[in-house]
């Protein structure tokens, strides 16, 4: 090989490397610019509404009535939040109690009954009844509940306007989603576990509660987080099935205050801030879990 050729080759390589370099830099610069632009856009589109709500919950009544983004001339944080908590005989405090109780009760029941069903449905997949049951569960995911007939049923068995009634309705309405997630997860547990437990003399009930149920923990926690947000944020079902001032849930306080506080937007905004805190806390701690749960069923179809 001649010297010239080698020099030509090496300069070619050098040229290529430097081209790669500058290309790499310009590519990264471009990505940075795109990232920065989307940061600004997302701030405008998503943060501005939050800022609007929070800042207005700090203002006095007159300033909040202007509905502006302006900085408050004086802060009324404690006064506003105290006023909204004690309004209508501590309605919001009672509502927090009711919503928490409803959420805890319905999740406790939901988790146990759906895990039991998911287990048996998966192990008996392909049996005679399974396609009918699967269809009924799928229908429950899609078709909205029939409102007045549900009230009629609740009323006939004396559960209308009761915590028991609304809890059981929430369980029924969230059952399809929970059962499908459990069923999919049980499919990943080998049947050998069941068999060895049976050889050791476990019956079906002990097998499920002592061995299977603890193994379902990852999916249980997903269901707990997702359903607690759904039940806590539920507006329609308490509106229909749990009416009455004593029965208020947090979402209904917003609705009540909306008509009563037509001139005190600051208090309405304070209410919004307060009831958004629980989902925010769950989001901070369980971000990954929530996203995984919401996409798990969806992508498989």
């Amino acid at each position: 090989m001649s010297k010239g050729m080698i020099e030509g080759l090496s300069s070619g390589i050098r040229k290529e490397i430097s081209q790669d370099w500058s290309e790499g830099i310009s590519k990264r610069a471009r990505q940075f610019v795109i990232g920065a632009v989307s940061l600004v856009l997302s701030t405008l589109i998503f943060w501005v509404p939050f800022y609007f709500v929070i800042i207005n919950s700090f203002k006095n009544q007159a300033e909040s009535a202007e509905m502006s983004m302006a900085w408050p001339s004086s802060f009324h944080i404690i006064a506003n939040y105290k006023a909204v908590l004690t309004a209508s005989e501590n309605m919001l405090i009672r509502a927090f109690y009711n919503s928490t109780l409803l959420t805890v009760l319905s999740i406790a029941i939901l988790v146990v009954v759906s895990a039991m069903s998911g287990f048996v449905l998966q192990r008996r997949e392909g049996g005679k009844a399974s396609s009918t049951i699967n269809f009924l569960i799928l229908a429950g995911l899609m078709i909205p509940p029939a409102i007045v007939p549900t009230i009629w049923v609740l009323d006939s068995i004396g559960l209308f306007k009761t915590m028991t009634g609304i809890t059981l309705v929430e369980v029924a309405l969230h059952f399809p989603f929970a059962a499908i997630l459990y069923k999919a997860f049980v499919a990943t547990l080998p049947r050998e576990i069941d068999e060895s437990a049976m050889i050791d003399g476990c019956g079906g009930t002990r097998l499920f509660f002592n061995i299977i149920f603890p193994l379902l923990r990852p999916v249980t926690s997903t269901i707990v987080v997702l359903t607690s947000i759904a039940v806590f944020n539920d507006f329609v079902n308490p509106l229909y099935f749990f009416p009455g001032a004593d029965n208020a849930t947090v979402q209904l306080t917003l609705y009540n205050f909306m008509s009563r506080f037509t001139t005190s937007w600051n208090l309405l905004f304070a209410d919004i801030v307060l009831i958004s805190i629980p989902p925010l806390i769950l989001f901070i701690f369980f971000n990954k879990k929530i996203v995984a749960g919401m996409t798990a069923g969806a992508v498989k179809g």
């Binding site: 940075f32 989307s38 997302s42 048996v120 996409t295």
Partner: protein, 288 residues
């Protein structure tokens, strides 16, 4: 083995859930077909055949809800499918601040719909609202977002998309990250551009995710109630009423039979539109 199976996986395990699901969901759904054909006071009923359905479709105040529901479902669904795909593709590319952006887009889905509705109806106030004052600063006269009968429904649909696009996005992200990287590498070797990658790899191979988004968004749109109730209560007049808000209004007015007919119509809409859509989409799915 079969004998052990029968005993171990006893159908008795289905009973607790089965009873709750039957009594509080399936039974009311079955009953709704009967009660939708009655004049009903909860204590007593008169069978009146299809009169409630005739009323529903002959009175404009009611039939408009049917049309609005379809429009609302289609608009929110299309926007979520398209924006979700773009955001999903964007957030799986090499851009910076990815996880922050993902969280910001996703968080609104966890907020109370009523709270979001109230906040946006303030911001959409025609003269004082933030949106129109900002537009005015730019010299644009903003419309009365919720008071103009032509655009009120679309304004609410826009807020629905703002709140719900996060779910669509994370579903797409899951779908797109499941596409094997080799496809993109092969395309790069063949000299394809990133636009080719998007149209010829990302779009066709994220079809399962897209199908889920279509189904979820469409059914969600058909069933929608909270947001319209928080923002317009069906107004101005009844121009933004959806089937679900009509059910509530008729229920409040004591027309239980008519409210239940609304429920059955919603039932039929979902069954006639969503089930075939689901079948169609899953049949034409591309397999990896």
């Amino acid at each position: 083995m079969t004998k052990i199976t029968m005993r171990t996986y006893s159908y008795a395990f289905l009973l607790p859930a089965g009873i709750i699901y039957f009594v509080f969901y399936l039974l009311p759904t079955i009953l709704s077909f009967f009660f939708s054909m009655t004049r009903w006071t909860l204590m007593d009923w008169d069978f009146i055949g299809f009169d409630n359905y005739v009323t529903f479709f002959s009175e404009t105040a009611l039939s408009i809800g049917f049309r609005n529901t379809i429009v609302y479902a289609v608009v929110t669904c299309v926007l979520k499918v398209v924006l979700g795909l773009l955001l999903g593709a964007f957030l799986t590319s090499g851009i910076m601040f990815k996880s922050y952006l993902r969280s910001v887009i996703f968080f609104p889905t966890l907020l109370s719909t009523i709270a979001v509705g109230i906040a946006f109806s303030m911001m959409m106030h025609p003269s004082q609202g933030m949106i129109n004052t900002s537009l005015a600063a730019l010299g644009i006269a903003g419309p009365d977002w919720l008071g103009n009968t032509k655009i009120a429904l679309l304004s609410v649909a826009f807020v629905d998309v703002w709140k719900g696009v996060g779910i669509a996005t994370v579903i797409y992200i899951a779908g797109i990250t499941a596409i094997p990287q080799e496809y993109y590498e092969a395309l790069k070797i063949d000299g394809g551009s990133s636009r080719d990658a998007f149209w010829h790899i990302t779009v066709p191979l994220s079809r399962p995710a897209m199908n889920s988004v279509i189904i979820l968004a469409f059914i969600g749109g058909l069933r929608s109630f909270d947001l319209i109730w928080a923002m317009t209560k069906g107004g101005p007049g009844f121009t933004t009423d959806l089937i679900a808000s009509i059910i509530y209004k008729q229920y409040q007015a004591g027309f239980y039979g008519l409210a239940t007919a609304g429920n059955v119509i919603l039932f039929i809409c979902v069954s006639l539109l969503a089930f075939p859509l689901y079948k169609f989409l899953t049949r034409s799915e591309v397999h990896l």
